[in-house]
Subunit: 252 residues, 2 copies
DNA sequence: CCCGTTCTTGCACGTTTTTGCATGTATCTT
DNA sequence: AAGATACATGCAAAAACGTGCAAGAACGGG
């Protein structure tokens, strides 16, 4: 594991959980607590986190819930992506959200799959340029830097002109009661607009997102077809979702 | 194994896995770690990756999965791009075409330049994601694979809703009589639509394009503000263009 | 075809960075 | 107040780095 990668992991953890416990992270990553402390000290000196006894907190509470600078798609996301890619039928049309998990889906699509992909993410579009059989449609609009996707009025309007069989959405929070949530209002609206244009909508959520909620709701459970996750089917949150009637696709 | 092949492999790895560990790659390819480090250093100097202790990471996290290959811009294009980037004023709005030369322009824009960039190329958009001060607006539409830009009716329509101070267009043919031409009718129409939305339009053309013409005309000379090229000012084609009243910006 | 030049590549060497441990100190909990 | 936990610092081993150098390949001109 690269040192820089470790730093990213810490920031990601900070954004997702809102705190870091040095001891836990050291155990999780198999490194010494000293290394974690050193990293945290460095991050704090750059103003990226606030050092506290036992670990660290976000520099600004507002940053909680925002996707951090994630560079490496963890194994879980890749498995989720692989399952999701299996849902895409030849000849069908897919609306693909932005984000690292959705990017992993794009990468997991067979090179010669003949289908239509509609996306508001230039990153996703760029990744699919070398799929010769894939028809690509880009939804334009103002690009939101932190998530690297087109959002806002223009993008939502552009979405009204398309339709698809399947929509794959990434979210930051998956909670039995709060539903599906994300950290930005514009993004939430865009995701809603995308879901509305597809016959079926599935949520991509690696296990660490289960049970968490962010500020803005994307959709209630009633409006989605299912959840794709790498969590254990006997996970507490998963079981509560199943009880609610949500279809769960696992990577098992 | 060819050196260029090795570089491609590294970029591919970076796109797929999001990171490179020098030691692992050296073992996998059966070459010395020194060579890997040298390659990584070169790639980093071109802005294609970010060097870290132990290996490398994508230049920007948003660029994970972004096809960075084929982007080794020749020297001529880079010089043209540098001149073009100098035309962009802080606070101004720029319409940027697709293509390798335009991509070089995007790379040549100062990291902290506060301006608005409007483009129909997901590749360009992805390249500008790490410019924090740059406002990005993406024009959507059907993606034409061979040129990797949004074209067609939807894209042209989207272009009607924007305006800018400057438009930088790439073309495949630059001819004193035939004017500016390209090999695809839809692309030509899109370029026309872009040029119509900017106060000034400049053409990016490395020297090998001078004197050639393709099938579809983009614009006549009267409707452009100037040509940016790395050709010699005493080049025969350049002199004929000057005689026609075309402003020529050279890299000299 | 041959020879000089240039570029690439791997190795050796000294330097820098990272990392875990030990030690002593500070801080928290009870 | 006392024990436990977290912390900073110093230290040493290991890993990664940069540089110089030499052998070899590719190239170009004669």
């Amino acid at each position: 594991m690269l040192a820089a990668e470790r730093r990213d992991h810490l920031l990601d953890l900070l954004a997702r959980e809102g705190k870091i416990v040095a001891k836990d992270v050291a155990a999780e990553l198999g490194i010494s607590e000293d290394s974690v402390r050193r990293d945290l000290r460095d991050l704090a000196s750059e103003g990226l986190c606030q050092r506290v006894y036992g670990g660290a907190l976000p520099a600004s509470p507002a940053l909680v819930g925002y996707a951090a600078r994630q560079t490496v798609a963890p194994d879980g996301k890749r498995k989720v992506a692989s399952v999701a890619a299996g849902l895409v039928r030849p000849g069908g049309a897919l609306i693909l959200d932005g984000g690292t998990t959705a990017l992993a889906v794009a990468r997991a699509l067979p090179q010669d799959l003949a289908c239509t992909v509609i996306t508001h993410s230039p990153t996703i579009a760029a990744a699919l340029l070398d799929h010769p059989q894939t028809e690509l449609f880009l939804l334009g609009g103002r690009i939101f830097k932190h998530s690297a996707v087109a959002c806002g009025a223009a993008a939502v309007e552009a979405a009204q002109n398309v339709s698809a069989d399947l929509c794959l959405l990434g979210v930051t929070g998956v909670h039995p009661e709060a539903g599906l949530t994300t950290g930005d209002a514009e993004e939430a609206a865009m995701k809603r607009a995308l879901a509305a244009r597809a016959a079926d909508t599935y949520i991509l959520a690696s296990s660490e997102k289960l049970g968490t909620a962010s500020r803005f709701r994307v959709l209630p459970w009633e409006e989605i077809s299912g959840l794709i996750t790498d969590a254990d089917p006997h996970d507490a949150v998963v079981e509560r979702l199943t009880a609610r009637g949500v279809e769960i696709l696992t990577t098992g």
